[in-house]
């Protein structure tokens, strides 16, 4: 059962990879590089406070039942 699940997971990952690799060549960015001034502003950065944010996540985690998906998946304006 475990092996079947793993094989299915591997197939999904590979299929997803192929779909993404084949599809994104045609997609053009709808926000042009010269339109990203606002997105590049530090006030549009989820991780602006670095370890000060990490500390708050730790503080909440030790006092709440919930955990995970606190953020930090990164990303941003694609300004570079």
């Amino acid at each position: 059962m475990m092996i079947k699940t793993n094989v299915l997971l591997m197939k999904c990952v590979l299929l997803g990879s192929l779909l993404l690799s084949g599809g994104c060549a045609e997609i053009k960015p709808w926000v042009k590089p010269y339109e990203r001034d606002s997105l590049a502003d530090p006030i549009m950065n989820f991780g602006r406070l670095g370890i000060a944010n990490s500390y708050m996540h730790h503080m909440y985690q030790s006092r709440e039942g919930a955990r995970g998906a606190e953020g930090g998946s990164g990303g941003g304006c694609g300004c570079n």
């Binding site: 990952v13 997105l39 006030i43 370890i51 953020g71």
Partner: protein, 404 residues
């Protein structure tokens, strides 16, 4: 410089594939290796260029002040780039605890006085992918935790999309002061994140994380109370939790740039686990620059959760059920946070050695209100009829960043 040159080498794609697969397999088994390698394949197909985090020195002083309990200490993080493709970082954090929480007052149990956390990390840039690895060690006199973290992030579609996949594994060793008690717990985290530019003024982040735990999952000191013939009407016995737990968390957060220079952040998070806890969290924040260098932030956060299936404030008798908990973090409750922050951003210090930086003071007021956790320190009440517990706390953070 030799180290920098070594990391700057562009390994052939097959070699990178093999390296990532092998490391992932050794650490987390082959589900993990497929997870991590698949994410890298997904990411690296259209590689052109991405960027590493800025070189910086981050300093933090944190202070949690609850009625009767104070936890404070410093933290430092240093990040340095080696060549154009590698960034290394090290972090050190100290929590010093003084005073006692209600659990300690009620059952006279002891808690650690200091926790130190050390972590080292490395980020490796490959085209538009960033592969990250980190090792974290946390030590107290009655608790040790080690963890490793693997992450892959990838920019896609003209850099408007960032896909992130991650895996962590943690090993905890739980002890008790003045006792030879020792137990272990293992944890595994699976993360998937998506960051998307929606418009030239709007960003959205989606995060999903599954965590599985196995081992000794309760606090080694905490006790539950049950009805007895004693003068106060109840006695205590140690908590007993299931030895496994799986949780899922989902979050959606967005930043929006207003027509003038200011931004609004909104966030929603949902959580559920196999212990029967469900939680909802909402947050909204407003950032407003002042003059040329100042920045103000206002924040409101609301969190609520339902209790674990095996939680009770007062059990009817000793060993009333297989699993027993009276940890207030597993009860039904809510909390609210009102936050305020002010920051000052500066440019060029020390003849340009520091390119820029900021000083930020952040103050948060949090109140916790419990629906089924009673304050046993209040005297003159029948067992189970004591007033419900509530408390508030102030959290202060002084955060300084130097980018060089």
């Amino acid at each position: 410089m030799q180290l920098a040159s070594f990391f700057s080498l562009q390994l052939p794609a097959k070699a990178r594939f093999f390296l990532l697969f092998s490391v992932s397999y050794l650490i987390g088994g082959w589900v993990t290796s497929v997870w991590m390698t698949g994410s890298w394949i997904t990411g690296s197909w259209h590689s052109v260029a991405a960027v590493l985090p800025e070189q910086s020195i981050d300093l933090l002083y944190h202070r949690y002040d609850q009625d009767g309990q104070l936890i404070d200490g410093p933290a430092i993080l240093i990040r340095k780039n080696l060549g154009n493709t590698v960034s290394v970082s090290g972090e050190y954090l100290v929590d010093t605890v003084s005073g006692a929480s209600i659990d300690v007052i009620a059952t006279a149990s002891e808690y650690t006085e200091e926790r130190t956390e050390t972590s080292v990390g490395i980020d490796y840039l490959v085209g538009k992918s960033i592969l990250s690895f980190a090792y974290v060690n946390s030590t107290e006199n009655d608790f040790d935790a080690e963890s490793i973290h693997l992450n892959v992030s990838q920019d896609l579609f003209g850099d408007l999309t960032t896909l992130t996949m991650g895996y962590s594994q943690a090993w905890d060793t739980i002890g008790r002061v003045n006792d030879d008690f020792e137990e272990e717990a293992d944890r595994r985290h699976f993360r998937l994140g998506l960051s998307q530019v929606i418009t030239k003024n709007m960003l959205v982040n989606l995060d999903v994380e599954t965590i599985t735990d196995e081992g000794f999952l309760n606090n080694a000191y905490r006790q539950v109370r049950f009805v007895s013939d004693s003068a106060r009407g109840y006695d205590y016995q140690f908590e007993r939790y299931p030895h496994t737990r799986t949780s899922n968390a989902f979050s959606l957060r967005s930043l929006y740039y207003l027509p003038y220079r200011a931004s609004i952040k909104g966030e929603y998070r949902f959580f559920s686990d196999t212990w029967g806890i469900q939680a909802n969290q909402f947050e909204i924040a407003y950032l407003h620059p002042l003059f040329e260098h100042w920045l103000m932030e206002f924040r409101y956060r609301h969190y609520s959760q339902s209790k674990a299936d095996f939680y009770q404030d007062l059990f009817p008798f000793e060993n009333a059920q297989n699993f027993l908990a009276r940890d207030k973090e597993l009860s039904t409750y809510k909390n609210q946070t009102f936050g305020f922050g002010i920051g000052y951003e500066f440019n060029s210090l020390l003849d340009g050695y520091i390119e820029k930086g900021s000083v930020n003071l952040l103050l948060d007021y949090i109140d916790f209100t419990y629906d089924d956790f009673r304050d046993v320190t209040r005297e003159g009440f029948v067992a189970g009829q004591e007033p419900l517990y509530s408390f508030d706390a102030w959290v202060t953070r002084l955060f300084v960043r130097f980018e060089y």
